[in-house]
Every structure is written in C-alpha cells, then in structure tokens.
C-alpha cells in the first residue's frame, strides 16, 4: 500500500552519485564502530580471566578463557536455557498484550469523538509521569492479595489492560499521521468503527505496530526491577534476574561469567531487532535496495 510505493522514488535518485555514496558508507561505518565498541568490549572481557578484566582495559585478552561461558551457563544450579525460555515467554505475552490493547485505546483517542476525550487523554499521559517506585508498594499489596505474587501475572495482566501509556501515545501519533480521507470514504460506504480499525487503521499502522512490538519485547527483556520484586522462585527466573545474581558488589562478583552471559543475552535481542526491522522494510520493492 502506501509503504510499498514510497521508498523506490527516493532510493532510485541516490543511486546516481557513487562518490557521495562511498562517503556516506564511510561515515556510517565510522559511526558504527563507535556503536560496536561496547559489544566488542563485552565479548573481549567475557573471554578474559577474572583478574584481567579490570586490570587491563584493552580489547585483546592475553589468552582465551572459554571457562566463563561454561561456568556462567550453570552458575545458578540450573542451565541458562530455562531463563531464556522464561524471558521469551514473558516478552511474547507482553508484546501481544501491548499491541492489542494499546492500539485499540489509541484508535479511540486518535479518531473517535467521545465525551471528555481530552481529559482522558491527559489522564493517560499522566499515568506514565509518576515514578514507579512510589506505586510499587500499593501495587504489590494488590497483587499479593490476588495471590499473584511469584507468578508472571503481575507482569502480564497490566499490559493486557493498556496500562503502558507510552505505547498508546505512540500509536495515537502514528494514527493521526494516516490521511483521514480513506476512513471517511469507508464510513460513507457504511463501514463501522471496528471494521475501519481492522481493515484500514491496523494495516496502515504496521510500521508503528512493529516498532511497538520491538520496544515491548526489548524493554521487557531488560526490565529488571518489577521482575525482581514479583518473582522469587528460581524456576521462574528471567534473564535479567539470573544475570544480576552473578553480580554482587560487596562479595564475590562473578564478573567473567556475568559478562559471558550478558554477551549471550544480547544475541536474542539482536535477532529480534533484525526480525522486526525486516517486518518494517518488507514489501518494499527490492530493486530499490540494490546500491
């Protein structure tokens, strides 16, 4: 639809000047090096012996220490596989919950006229302005009384109920960027709000939905504090919980294994990122991609 047609026009134009293109690639690569440094450092450090990580800031270990990976993988008495699966499960549920509930709310805020919509919109934004530290205890008490502590429910159910105003606002802005004429035409043809939402808004919202899915996934994957508070059973541990267990600032920190597992924990994130980015780019005429 809209997305598939747009790119070719710009892209075909930039193909003409090869010198400029080279310059672009050079500067992009230079920037990319800066972005790569932390990962390179992490990988290098994860291969170093414990006493070398801090004493030697260089990127080249004096010898390769694979032991960190083996030790890290089994350091919690059970293999990391379980933590990865738990995180995957949690993130998938959160992504689904956020996409469905937040896009619904966003559609109402962006396109439907209803009483006090401005007021409710302000309330929606207001809910993401209060630091979570001060609502944690009442929320914990609530979930404790529901018997949900030490389950994933406190982490998933709020997402089903569009409590993450960030995503509502994200989708609202993107919906408002969609030309309204299409919907008006559909209305004239007799389409109702649900059909417009499903057949016009959602398909056109795809770049934003994919972006929202990406953020939901990555942020949940990294989100330490709520998972710490609600999950106690090691069997339910997620990746960030397991990682932090390897680090103890006043005792024996297992820095080597921690960095080894941190490095591994980035792999699914990169895979997810590339996968979702493909979703955004997909559908664009491939001829435009040939540089």
């Amino acid at each position: 639809m809209w997305t598939s047609r747009h790119a070719t026009s710009i892209w075909s134009r930039t193909r003409a000047v090869p010198g400029k293109r080279l310059l672009l690639h050079l500067s992009l690569s230079a920037g990319a090096l800066l972005m790569l440094y932390p990962i390179a450092w992490m990988i290098a450090s994860s291969l170093k012996a414990e006493n070398e990580i801090f004493a030697d800031p260089g990127l080249v270990p004096s010898y390769i220490e694979i032991q960190n990976y083996i030790e890290g993988w089994f350091s919690l008495g059970q293999p990391f596989t379980g933590f990865f699966l738990n995180s995957l499960l949690l993130c998938t549920a959160v992504v689904a919950g956020n996409l469905v509930s937040c896009s619904m709310a966003a559609y109402a805020f962006a396109r439907l006229r209803f009483r006090a919509s401005g007021f409710w919109f302000a309330i929606m934004l207001g809910t993401i302005m209060l630091p979570y530290h001060v609502t944690l205890i009442p929320q914990y008490t609530l979930f404790f009384n529901l018997g949900w502590v030490d389950t994933y429910l406190p982490l998933i159910v709020p997402k089903l109920l569009a409590t993450d105003g960030f995503f509502v606002f994200l989708f609202v802005q993107f919906i408002r960027g969609i030309p309204i004429e299409l919907e008006e035409a559909a209305r004239v043809d007799g389409a109702g709000s649900l059909r417009i939402y499903l057949t016009i808004i959602l398909p056109l919202l795809r770049p934003a939905l994919v972006t929202g899915a990406l953020f939901s996934f990555l942020w949940t994957y990294n989100d330490f504090f709520p998972q710490l508070v609600y999950i106690s059973d090691t069997g339910l541990y997620t990746v960030p919980l397991a990682l932090r267990t390897l680090l103890d600032t006043t005792g024996d920190s297992a820095w080597g294994p921690m960095l080894a597992m941190s490095t591994l924990s980035v792999v699914p994130m990169i895979a997810i990122f590339v996968f979702f980015q493909r979703q955004i780019v997909e559908g664009i005429a491939t001829s435009g991609l040939k540089g």
């Binding site: 747009h6 026009s9 892209w11 932390p38 960027g177 008006e184 389409a191 109702g192 994919v210």
Partner: protein, 317 residues
C-alpha cells in the same frame, strides 16, 4: 467481537454524510475500544496512584502504618531540603541538554539510514546496539572505564595533544555530562520511531513534488519535515517523560550514590534513596508528585506550542 458487530450495525443504519460524521459523537464505540484501558486505569493504575498521593501527606516508613502529616512533606522539601533542589537541578540540566541532543542525533541518523543503501538492516542493528545494552550492568563498568583516568576517551584526547585530561566520571564538574553523553549514545529508540515515521510518509507526495521540480532540500523542508512533525512531537514528549524519570544509568554508573558530590543525583535517584534506603516512603511520594507536576508542566507547554508547528494529516482535530 460480538459487541463490535452491534456497533457496526448501529453505524450502518444511521445515514450520514462526511460532514455530519465529523461532528457526531461516537461515545459507544469509543468506550468499547477504551474498555481495556479503563479497566486497567481503575483497577491497576488509579488506585496505587491515589494511594501514593495519600502517602505523600503522611509519614510512612514502609514497615509501619502511615501517620497523617498534611502538607509537611512538601513544606520541608521546598524550605529545608538542599538535596531536593540539588537533584532537581541535576535532572533539569540532564533533560534540557540531553533530550534535544539525543533527538537531533536520532533524526539525523534516521534520515541517513532512510536511503537506499546496501547493508541497511545491518547499519540499523548496529546503531541500535547501544540501546540494547541500556540498563545492563556491563555498561556501568564500561562507561567508568571509557571515561576514567586511563580510559579510551582520554587516550584519544592525549593522542590529539591534550595534556593530563581528568577522570570525567570522578570529577563533580563533568560527571553529569558523561551521563548525558550516554543518553545521546543510546539514541536507538527515537531513531527507530523516526524511521517508522519516515516509512509512513506516502510516496505520492514525493512523486508529485519531483514532478514539480523540487530539489532534495526543498523536499525535505516541504514534505519530510512537516509530515514528520507528529512523530517529532511524539519523540519529544516520550523522551521528555523518559529523561525526567531517568534512573537506571545514574543508578548503575554511580552505584546508587549519585556521586561524586551529588553531581549525578538525579531526582528519581534521590527519590529512590528516600524510599528504599531511608524508608521514608511518605517523603518519597511527595517528591514523586512534585516530579509529576514538573513533567506535566513541560508536557503541557509542549502541547500548547505544538499547534504552531505540528502538522496532522487528519486536519488537526
């Protein structure tokens, strides 16, 4: 699903023209679409928020029942708490400098990446990498090494002729700027949003303007920028809120102290210390509500000015 069908039928039976549709209220469908959000608000969000508002007017040590003290927490904060003002200053500087820098950087890279170049996906992933690591404790170690006395940053500085550069993280005059830099460096999220926004601009607009003979710059200022304003605005609001609440980077880089000399004591970090180190949840809640008021003020101002520079394709309803 079944309720959805009834709305459809209700809509279909009402004949309407384009104009009357615009004026008509759609209370029922709107409420149905908003139902999950309403339930979440009432059951999960509003309750705890109101409770924290109540806490802010009590003395509450987490482990025993709250004692009502009226507005005393707010009074103490404004009249007798140096660290309140210090931390507000730190956060304001962080927001005012960090957010525009980060957004400008994100937009610039997004524009560069939105061209037909080979290896696009790889570049995007690379530029998003730093954001993937946000909140990782490894970053804290790394940042301290990079900006330490003998860190990579100083190696570069000495290489280009600077003599004995300082420890940027250990120096109270510069520590905050390393955190601002960290924020700018983690520009991936706004960049991805910008990219999605660029993707949404209909190709027809460019085709039409190309036919009119508009140059690249003309197209950027006449098409790209105006059509991107809702997304710029979105990023501005989101990053404002996010930066005001910034916590993780300061927490892990300073190990929760906000040092040296409170120079990285973000407002939320101070709030956290009061709540969970000193167990003064009443006071911490009061701090949180003051922060909410400040964020709301910044957001409201942004919304008020937005009508002058944000262009909506729906006619600015």
């Amino acid at each position: 699903m079944r309720t959805g069908r009834t709305i459809e039928r209700a809509d279909v039976t009402t004949p309407h023209s384009k104009i009357s549709y615009r004026d008509r209220r759609q209370n029922l469908p709107a409420h149905l679409f908003l139902a999950p959000w309403f339930i979440g608000l009432i059951v999960l969000t509003a309750g705890p928020m109101l409770v924290s508002l109540y806490y802010s007017m009590t003395e509450y040590s987490l482990l025993t029942d709250p004692q009502w003290v009226g507005l005393r927490n707010y009074e103490r904060m404004i009249l007798a708490d140096d660290r309140f003002w210090a931390s507000m200053g730190v956060t304001l500087r962080y927001v005012v400098i960090g957010v525009p820098l980060q957004l400008a950087f994100a937009l610039a890279v997004a524009l560069l990446l939105n061209r037909g170049i080979r290896g696009l996906t790889a570049y995007r992933a690379l530029y998003y990498l730093p954001s993937l690591l946000a909140g990782s404790v490894a970053i804290a170690v790394l940042w301290r090494q990079v900006f330490g006395l003998e860190g990579a940053f100083n190696v570069v500085l000495t290489g280009i002729g600077f003599d004995a550069p300082p420890n940027w993280i250990g120096n109270p005059d510069t520590a905050l700027y390393t955190l601002i830099l960290l924020r700018v460096w983690e520009f991936g999220s706004p960049m991805v949003i910008f990219l999605a926004g660029l993707r949404q601009i209909p190709a027809e607009y460019y085709e039409a303007s190309a036919l009119d003979g508009a140059g690249k710059f003309g197209q950027f200022f006449k098409i790209t920028l105006p059509l991107l304003t809702p997304i710029i605005f979105l990023n501005l609001i989101l990053q404002l809120i996010n930066a005001f609440q910034a916590f993780n980077s300061a927490f892990i880089v300073s190990e929760g102290t906000g040092g040296p000399l409170d120079s990285t004591l973000f407002f939320t970090l101070y709030l956290y210390q009061e709540a969970f180190t000193n167990f003064r949840m009443g006071y911490a809640s009061a701090l949180a509500w003051v922060l909410l008021a400040v964020i709301a003020l910044f957001t409201a101002v942004s919304f008020l000015t937005s009508r002058y520079w944000v262009h909506y394709d729906d006619g600015g309803r």
